[in-house]
């Protein structure tokens, strides 16, 4: 019996290594040296999927953070990477909690951002926001993070009211060989990353990775430690398979476990999850391509104070892109999403959900047509998304965008869009204090009508600027039917009682001062006014419209000092948050990298160097200065 068991384990391993040995192995450097020019010309170096359109052609406030910039900055998690992006609002609430948004409404429950990683949605339908401490990947394997500030619902999805964050990891062909990193010091008790990528058979690639990160507590405002320590362990894989000349299959997945501390409880909160994605892309001969994607995502957490949640999501999407003529491109697609959760109330008297189990479905259809006029000087993009979901019924989210190329160096753009924030479990089903405050099944989507205007220009060979202005009108915002602190009638319900306006300006300038010195500066002005509609007694809503800084300034220096040394400095100044009682603060983060040799890299990163500790968000803790060291190396 035992030998049968052993054989059944050994056999697949043997056949796997046999598969590795077969075929023309081109990935290893030793074999590349032996290949002729003719052989090299036959290696597929880029997958068949479509190429991104140039940044200057997009009629939206877009910024792309390259993977190389993430590496040079030395950041260790997704939220800190988003901080590098001009216009993004990122506030660290405590050791493991971040409030992240674009264009306002920031909170640790911020709910107006669509966040995707390789097409998989990272926000939870519990409150339409992201638990940033549960979402991770090997940061070195990120190819880029594309961020659109402003609505992107027509193409991107249900939650893209104020912005879209699209995290794209590298194809497995770009992560060949091994990589290991270890680090510690400052806020990090220790961390380690490990990844190995290789080739299976002929021109099919895979990678596997694992990481673990242990972070210590920050500092309580009342003094002492804040008991918000955090650990997260994650492993995952990605395989890219070439099924045919123009057909590509990608299979990827992750598994993670973690715990975070909370001063209110003895032990620690726990989170865990598993997900898998299968994506098939087919390029057709006639300048068209189709992509199918199936995602399964399971997550579980227990905060040990008021509730625990288990959730499963199945998401299927198909998208077809076709060039109808040299000046017209059409994208159509649709999707189906199934969502099932189970919530356990730990202290039902404080927080409960009714019902505790809920399953829901949504399906959508989207279309976008892009037409060029006048020798491609003017580009019009018309798009709309139609959706049906079990929370708010039918939704339509249209957008009109136009870009006009003034000359070869500059362009201006304008956009008008409507987007909605679909209701979630919290809006409709929560019960607080035994039912004193209740969610409402009649709670409907929050809406925005956004107008945007932009200009980008290459002012000289080394200097470029990007300006975006926006004016947003919000309606049906979430509030309460009554003044929660002194209600005239109970229960108080969650209701669409708010309306508001925001406006702002975002300016980004890039300067390539020398071949080896890059500078980037960005400034953002923002103002938001929310009020309760006539008839509502909600006073909280107007008290919470200044959780976003009016002014925010970011500066960045990226300098290759020599072929072995480089320096990355990111500084920011963030204005006060009146409603959160948080003062303005500035912070300087520095990363120094020393490339010891071709394999070995040593870096030292310091954060908040100018300041012992500071508060970044209301009800938060003081974020301390921290310095840590990292050693990383690559191997074949």
């Amino acid at each position: 019996m035992r030998s049968i068991l052993r054989h059944s384990i050994l056999l697949p391993l043997l056949s796997f290594s046999a598969a590795c040995l077969g075929g023309m192995q081109v990935a290893s450097l030793d074999s590349l040296a032996e290949l002729s020019l003719e052989d090299l010309m036959n290696i597929q170096v880029v997958s068949v999927s479509r190429r991104a359109e140039p940044l200057r052609d997009t009629a939206a406030a877009i910024y792309v953070l390259e993977g190389e910039e993430i590496r040079r900055s030395g950041v260790r998690n997704l939220a800190e990477a988003l901080r590098l992006i001009p216009g993004m609002q990122v506030a660290r609430v405590d050791a493991h909690t971040w409030a992240v948004t674009a264009r306002g409404f920031n909170s640790d429950l911020a709910d107006k951002l669509e966040v995707l990683m390789d097409g998989r949605s990272l926000y939870t339908p519990l409150f339409s926001g992201v638990f940033w401490y549960t979402q991770d990947t090997l940061l070195r394997d990120i190819a880029r993070i594309e961020v659109i500030r402003g609505p992107g619902a027509a193409l991107w999805g249900a939650n893209a009211v104020n912005g879209v964050v699209n995290i794209v990891t590298r194809p497995a062909a770009d992560t060949l060989g091994g990589l290991q990193a270890i680090g510690g010091g400052g806020e990090f008790e220790g961390y380690s990353d490990l990844r190995y990528g290789g080739e299976i058979g002929e021109q099919n690639y895979y990678r596997v990775y694992g990481k673990g990160q242990w972070q210590g507590q920050q500092s309580a405002t009342s003094g002492g430690g804040s008991r918000d320590q955090w650990n997260h362990r994650q492993a995952g894989f990605r395989g890219d398979f070439r099924l045919a000349e123009r057909r590509q299959l990608t299979v990827q997945g992750d598994i993670y476990r973690g715990n975070v501390g909370d001063p209110r409880i003895e032990g620690e909160e726990s989170h865990r999850g598993e997900n898998a994605t299968v994506r098939l892309s087919q390029q057709h001969a006639d300048q068209a391509d189709t992509e199918w994607q199936l995602v399964y995502d399971r997550s579980e957490f227990n905060n040990r104070i008021n509730f625990a949640e288990e959730r499963q999501v199945v998401d299927f999407e198909v998208q077809h892109r076709r060039r109808l003529s040299p000046v017209q491109e059409l994208v159509i697609g649709g999707g189906f999403r199934f969502n099932r959760d189970h919530i356990t109330a730990i202290d039902p008297g404080t927080i409960d959900f009714v019902p505790r189990n809920r399953s829901d479905e949504s399906y959508d259809f989207f279309i976008q047509d892009q037409i060029d006029f006048w020798d491609r000087r003017l580009r019009l993009t018309l798009g709309a998304k139609l959706e049906h979901n079990d929370y708010s019924g039918e939704e339509i989210q249209p957008s009109v965008r136009a870009r006009y190329r003034i000359d070869s160096r500059s362009a201006t753009w304008a956009a008008l869009s409507r987007a909605v924030r679909i209701p979630n479990r919290l809006d409709q089903d929560i019960r607080v204090f035994g039912g004193l405050l209740q969610g409402d099944r009649d709670f409907d989507s929050e809406e925005v009508l956004a107008s945007e205007l932009g200009y980008r220009s290459q002012l000289s060979d080394s200097l470029s600027v990007d300006v975006a202005l926006f004016y947003n009108e919000y309606d049906q915002l979430r509030g309460f039917t009554d003044d929660f602190s002194a209600p005239q009638s109970v229960p108080v319900f969650i209701a669409n009682v708010g309306s508001g306006r925001s406006h702002g300006a975002e300016v980004t300038a890039r300067w390539q001062w020398q071949a080896n010195v890059k500078l980037l500066g960005s400034y953002r002005y923002f103002d938001l006014d929310i009020e309760a509609k006539p008839g509502s007694r909600d006073v909280n809503i107007a008290d919470a419209n200044a959780s976003d800084p009016n002014n925010q300034l970011k500066l960045r220096l990226d300098w290759d000092i020599s072929d072995h040394w480089s320096l990355f400095v990111a500084g920011r100044w963030v204005g006060e948050l009146k409603d959160e009682a948080v003062d303005a603060y500035s912070a300087i983060d520095v990363n120094v990298m020393w490339q010891v040799n071709d394999q070995l890299e040593l870096s030292i990163r310091g954060t908040n160097l100018n300041d012992g500790e500071h508060l970044e968000f209301g009800n938060g803790v003081e974020i301390k200065r921290s310095v840590h060291a990292q050693l990383s190396w690559t191997f074949e």
Partner: protein
């Protein structure tokens, strides 16, 4: 407090592995496209002849330089190990500024943006230098070889005119494998 214990237990094998790695001498570039580019750059040297005046002494090495891409530089470094061209050693270096590249025989310029590329070209003497960059427009702007991607595969264009200006002898084999060969200034306008 379970964390320091767990971290400690984790770290001992890591440190051991680190020591093992530090004594190994393999090098690695991480991306396939970059590896293939490095292999092309190394391969080009087989099909191009530099005149003796391109070298300071008869024993001077053939210098392969990479601007702006460490991964390609690392891959080139491992490919040229123990290789020779006409009894000359091959050596390579990563350069950050045009003024560091004056002694290069091959220069791959991996920088973003046409404007930055043009500034590099303008700052270089160009003589005896095989200049390579990404994009087919590079050969029209004064470069010798431009990489281009066709159906997901890496190919290259050559400007024979710019090669002659740089006093490089390109073999007919290499010309025959190029996707396009620009022979005179007017052909680039076709």
């Amino acid at each position: 407090m379970i964390h320091p214990v767990m971290a400690g237990r984790w770290f001992r094998p890591c440190v051991l592995l680190l020591l093992a790695v530090m004594f190994s001498h393999q090098v690695a570039a991480q991306g396939l496209e970059k590896r293939v580019k490095a292999a092309y750059i190394f391969n080009f040297t087989h099909f191009i002849d530099w005149s003796e005046s391109a070298f300071e002494t008869p024993s001077s090495p053939l210098q392969l330089c990479i601007a702006g891409d460490r991964e390609v530089a690392v891959a080139v470094n491992s490919l040229i190990h123990n290789k020779k061209k006409n009894q000359r050693d091959l050596s390579n270096k990563l350069v950050l500024r045009p003024e560091d590249a004056l002694d290069c025989h091959v220069l791959y310029i991996a920088v973003n943006g046409d404007k930055t590329l043009l500034r590099w070209l303008q700052a270089l003497p160009g003589r005896h230098m095989l200049t390579i960059a990404d994009g087919s427009s590079f050969v029209d702007d004064g470069g010798v070889v431009g990489f281009t991607i066709v159906d997901g595969k890496l190919r290259f264009d050559i400007s024979q005119l710019n090669a002659q200006r740089a006093e490089l002898q390109i073999s007919s084999k290499l010309l025959s494998l190029a996707r396009q060969v620009r022979r005179n200034p007017s052909s680039s306008e076709l």
